[in-house]
Symmetry: C2
Subunit: 171 residues, 2 copies
């Protein structure tokens, strides 16, 4: 009998005011959620301090769950470069926190994530939330950003199993 | 006799492969460079690891020189959002390193910096380098990114003296 390999993945959906996170454990065909939530940064907190809070939260999650990989949302469409700069700043502290712990970081485009979870690249938030709930056997639909983060982790798990088409680029 | 207040400023010009830095000390009318250089990240280093190296370098500079403020290049024109994301990531780790040390961070647009140093918003790299050399009494023209970082620190010093027009927004 071959021992079933256990794989822990941390998914992160970056955003300055509400970064979603989700940790999943994959063991054979069984996928469970170890934890999920979002880092809430009220509008009163300076952007620079939000970055520290996000960085600390990611570092804490890595310390607590020892994931072997981090899956992060890839480059999304943004209306202007100012938003790209802001989102880039958040991505920067997350990527650095993972790299500091020698973890490989993989990017997945939103379409790929939706496809991996619902089978549809153009799926809506509710569809993603419902599927994440069903796939992980959660009692409730997770908070939207946490749900997206869990979907990212699931997407990476699929990819490792060879379900997805193209391997993602490590950043 | 009133004691002349000493002010130490860290200027940073963010870039993934070559982040410029410069620390200046302002004492009355005298401005001197305490250190300057650039964090060189060869193309073989993964972007995620570059971010850690930049973050560590900034943290080390803060520890060594105890600046009271950080001046960083503001949002620059970029050709596409992918570049904005990459530059944003670098900015993120720099801003977080400063915020983690409870330092105020100020952004200055490239035009403002050039104007503060040369009197011309459209000044070229060579003009900026020459003026930085003259203003700080350096023996040689600093490396381009280090020169831009020193210019940023000088720009913030001018601003604190009330030479500049509009106060920058703290981020």
């Amino acid at each position: 009998m071959t021992a079933v390999r256990k794989m822990i993945i941390l998914g992160i959906d970056p955003s300055l005011r509400s970064t979603g996170f989700g940790v999943i454990e994959v063991k054979g065909n069984q996928t469970t959620a170890l934890c999920h939530g979002h880092v809430k940064n009220p509008p009163t907190v300076l952007p620079s301090r939000c970055l520290v809070r996000i960085s600390d939260a990611v570092t804490k999650l890595i310390g607590e769950h020892s994931p072997e990989a981090v899956a992060i949302e890839g480059l999304v469409y943004v209306q202007n470069t100012r938003i790209a700069f802001t989102l880039g700043q958040v991505r920067g502290v997350i990527i650095a926190a993972a790299a500091r712990n020698d973890l490989p970081i993989y990017e997945y485009a939103p379409r790929k994530v939706k496809q991996a979870v619902t089978g549809l690249g153009g799926a809506g938030k509710t569809q993603v939330g419902n599927m994440v709930k069903a796939m992980l056997g959660l009692r409730e639909i997770p908070q939207a950003d946490a749900g997206d983060a869990l979907a990212l982790a699931i997407c990476h798990a699929h990819n490792c199993r060879g379900v997805q088409i193209k391997p993602p680029k490590q950043i």
